[in-house]
């Protein structure tokens, strides 16, 4: 039983504020007395490489979307340290469940530009068979759960996945990423409460980047961010500077130990800023100032890490330039390859709805194919997979 009081005193959240764990300053030096991680050179460079690759990919693909070559795009820009620093602190076999702005984690695990592009263009090599919108990546071999658009649905799924990992006894955990906007969904509450009650080895990683599309966080919650909510679930929690790769890495490393060794779920709130637009369908100039953006651009997480690497003697301006050039060239080359590849065959429209195609679905597919054969000009993608001759004719006419 809890302690009794005989006075009608209310408590409020006002007196309580969770501090932000920070290690690295913008000039690449450590804060006084800051406790950073043991990060070896090779690992630090792997993290940095993934951060730069993600930035280059994002900038090029957003441009491709503006040119009409892609239907949709979303950037990770400004949040690379939060996403990649945390993924790097995990075992590569831990499950990652992402929202959609975590392509950096996938890049860190070794997803190639070809694999990114195949999904973005929905071509025949896309693991998802061209069914989902761009940026909805998934990789079984890299333990990266396929992304879905409905916000926060992956959070209770991560709790369940982690519970299964605990029963399997493999010493693995699940990290689940979400924005501060998604944390307002009911699924967030369900997930944290169930994780605490069932002691699931799961790390809840909130990217608090200040905005959910146009909604600033002051219109998202009245409290001191997302972190204090963990206390109500009796869960371990830490807030970190999300633009500080060393702080994110160290915090996640410790969180993983709590999750895997003690079956204690953890909430990490990474304070960062969504430097880019929400998506290719959004223009942030309608709801926030240039000045605010510039202030955050000065806190660029990639630049911060670059300066730190240079201070370690692990990186130089020449190497920086060579890496940027190489990545740009590679992105362009793979994009040209991926956009030329044909779409998935029309038959893939009915596979994987169920483990086996049902008779009713087969019947509907047969009718559809007959229809497409009758009007091939109206359905060029479907017709191409039905009749190779049509594909050649397209190529002759210089079609895509």
């Amino acid at each position: 039983m809890t302690a009794q009081t005989h006075r009608p005193d209310f408590l409020s959240g006002d007196e309580y504020s969770i501090p932000t764990y920070a290690v690295l300053s913008q000039d690449g030096t450590l804060h006084d007395g800051a406790e950073g991680p043991d990060l070896e050179r090779d690992k630090a460079l792997r993290i940095y490489h993934a951060m730069v690759a993600t930035r280059v990919l994002d900038e090029r693909m957003m441009a491709a979307q503006r040119q009409g070559r892609l239907s949709f795009y979303m950037q990770c820009t400004g949040e690379e340290a939060a996403v990649i620093g945390s993924a790097a602190a995990l075992d590569d076999a831990d499950m990652i469940m992402a929202q959609y702005r975590e392509q950096g984690a996938l890049a860190y695990r070794g997803f190639s530009f070809d694999e990114f592009m195949n999904q973005l263009f929905g071509n025949e090599l896309d693991y998802g068979k061209g069914r989902q919108m761009p940026i909805h990546y998934g990789s079984r071999k890299l333990h990266y759960m396929t992304i879905s658009s409905p916000l926060a649905t992956q959070i209770p799924q991560a709790t369940g996945y982690a519970y299964g990992q605990k029963l399997a006894g493999e010493g693995l955990c699940t990290i689940v990423y979400f924005g501060e906007g998604a944390a307002s969904e009911g699924d967030f509450h369900a997930a944290l409460n169930m994780a605490a009650v069932h002691e699931a080895p799961v790390i809840f990683f909130c990217r608090n980047n200040g905005y959910a599309i146009s909604t600033p966080s002051v219109e998202q919650f009245a409290a001191d961010g997302v972190a204090p909510r963990a206390l109500g679930y009796r869960m371990h929690v830490i807030r970190v500077d999300g633009n500080d790769v060393l702080a994110v890495y160290r915090a996640t490393e410790k969180a993983r130990r709590l999750a895997v060794e003690e079956n204690k779920p953890v909430l990490i709130e990474a304070m960062t800023y969504r430097l880019a637009a929400h998506s290719s369908s959004d223009d942030p100039s309608g709801y926030r100032s240039r000045k605010e953006e510039d202030a955050w651009r000065a806190k660029d997480p990639i630049r911060r890490m670059q300066l730190w690497l240079e201070a370690q003697g692990w990186w130089s301006e020449d190497e920086e330039k060579a890496l940027q050039d190489e990545l740009r060239r590679e992105v362009l080359g793979t994009m040209k390859r991926a956009e030329k590849r044909p779409p998935p065959a029309i038959d893939t429209m009915v596979t994987d709805v169920y483990a086996d195609v049902t008779p009713a679905l087969q019947h509907q597919l047969d009718a559809l194919k007959q229809h497409v054969r009758r009007y091939p000009e109206a359905y060029p993608r479907g017709a191409r997979s039905l009749d190779p001759a049509l594909s050649h004719r397209d190529a002759d006419q210089g079609g895509d």
């Binding site: 499950m95 469940m97 896309d126 693991y127 998802g128 068979k129 069914r131 989902q132 909805h136 998934g138 990789s139 079984r140 759960m145 396929t146 879905s148 409905p150 649905t153 959070i155 209770p156 799924q157 991560a158 709790t159 369940g160 996945y161 982690a162 519970y163 299964g164 990992q165 029963l167 399997a168 699940t174 009911g186 699924d187 509450h189 369900a190 997930a191 409460n193 169930m194 009650v197 069932h198 596979t351 994987d352 709805v353 169920y354 483990a355 086996d356 049902t358 008779p359 009713a360």
Partner: protein, 325 residues
């Protein structure tokens, strides 16, 4: 063969599935030590431990979200929603996540191991929120399978098939029959096929089609009609999704008449789908309009429950209307 009731049959199925495969887990509200508010999960925690049979917090979207994650990980969750009326908070997880998991990932991931059990249906003075039959909401969702058993033998065989099926299955249990329906059930392991209807009685003049608790109501109406000299063919659809069109077509091509009945409201009910499909394929053979005997388009009322339900007398009248058209 021992005679048992439907709850005992369901409990046996869960017991067999858990004994056979360590990956099978049962959970939901009050499912653990108490064994469920209807006692379907009795003794499972005792036998298989708290890690595999447990209570969850009271949060349906959490139960199904958690179950989706477990199934994606390779476990075989059997999640219970206490009443089908309370499945709606989990509608998003079921419709947007469960149903689309395999498709959207190109088969990289799936939640095929998942089974969701939920008691459904009226006739127990349950009012608005302990009586609903929500199958039609889910029947509009590709990727789900929906199964409804009519008696203990069917419940055990279909539930075992659902748990082992490679696709996620919604398993709606007619709670009015939980204890009321008894019958001989083999103690051993057996399965009944999903996606297949069963002709439970052959006849020549008219086809009667239903599922779950409506099957015994149909039987009472058929008894009355047969006294009038009408030969009735009776079909238990068993699976709402995917449903066995061919068996129904074959029957209607023979009888030329069809009465479909379900407890759920008429508009948007699954009888509408069946009627449309059958008129497409049996147009020249139909001798009268397809009759639908269903709940009326209201919330499920308490005091007037008897009047609301599509009982045997309403079905009997539909048979006569069809025959005298």
């Amino acid at each position: 063969m021992p005679t048992i009731n439907m709850l005992q049959a369901i409990n046996q199925a869960l017991d067999i599935a858990m004994a056979e495969d360590d990956k099978v887990l049962c959970f939901g509200e009050d499912v653990g030590g108490f064994g469920g508010v209807f006692r379907a999960t009795s003794h499972l925690q005792e036998k298989y431990g708290k890690a595999r049979c447990f209570n969850t917090p009271l949060v349906e979207q959490g139960i199904i979200g958690f179950a989706n994650g477990l199934a994606a990980q390779g476990s075989v969750p059997v999640a219970e929603i206490q009443f089908a009326d309370y499945i709606f908070p989990a509608f998003d997880q079921i419709v947007n996540e469960t149903a689309k998991f395999r498709y959207r990932s190109g088969d990289l991931f799936n939640v095929g191991g998942l089974t969701i059990r939920a008691p459904y249906g009226g006739g127990i003075s349950g009012g608005l929120y302990h009586s609903q039959s929500p199958e039609a909401y889910f029947a509009h969702t590709p990727g789900l399978k929906i199964v409804v058993p009519r008696n203990p033998y069917e419940a055990k065989g279909l539930l075992l098939a659902a748990i082992r099926d490679p696709d996620p299955v919604l398993f709606f249990e007619p709670k009015r029959l939980y204890r009321a329906s008894t019958g001989e059930v083999p103690e051993e392991d057996y399965q009944l096929p999903l996606g297949e209807a069963e002709v439970t009685k052959e006849g020549a003049d008219i086809t009667l089609l239903g599922w779950g608790a409506q099957m015994e109501v149909i039987d009472r109406a058929v008894e009355m009609a047969e006294k009038d000299g009408v030969s009735c063919e009776v079909i238990d659809l068993r699976s709402i999704l995917p449903w066995d069109e061919d068996t129904v077509v074959e029957s209607v091509l023979k009888t030329g008449r069809l009465v479909i009945t379900h407890e759920a409201p008429r508009t948007g009910g699954f009888a509408g789908e069946i009627a449309a499909a059958i008129q497409e394929r049996c147009f020249l053979y139909l001798e009268s309009p397809i009759q639908r005997v269903t709940g009326i388009d209201t919330p499920f009322p308490l005091t007037l429950e008897k009047e609301y339900l599509p009982d045997h007398l309403k079905i009997y009248e539909a048979i006569k209307t069809s025959l005298h058209y």
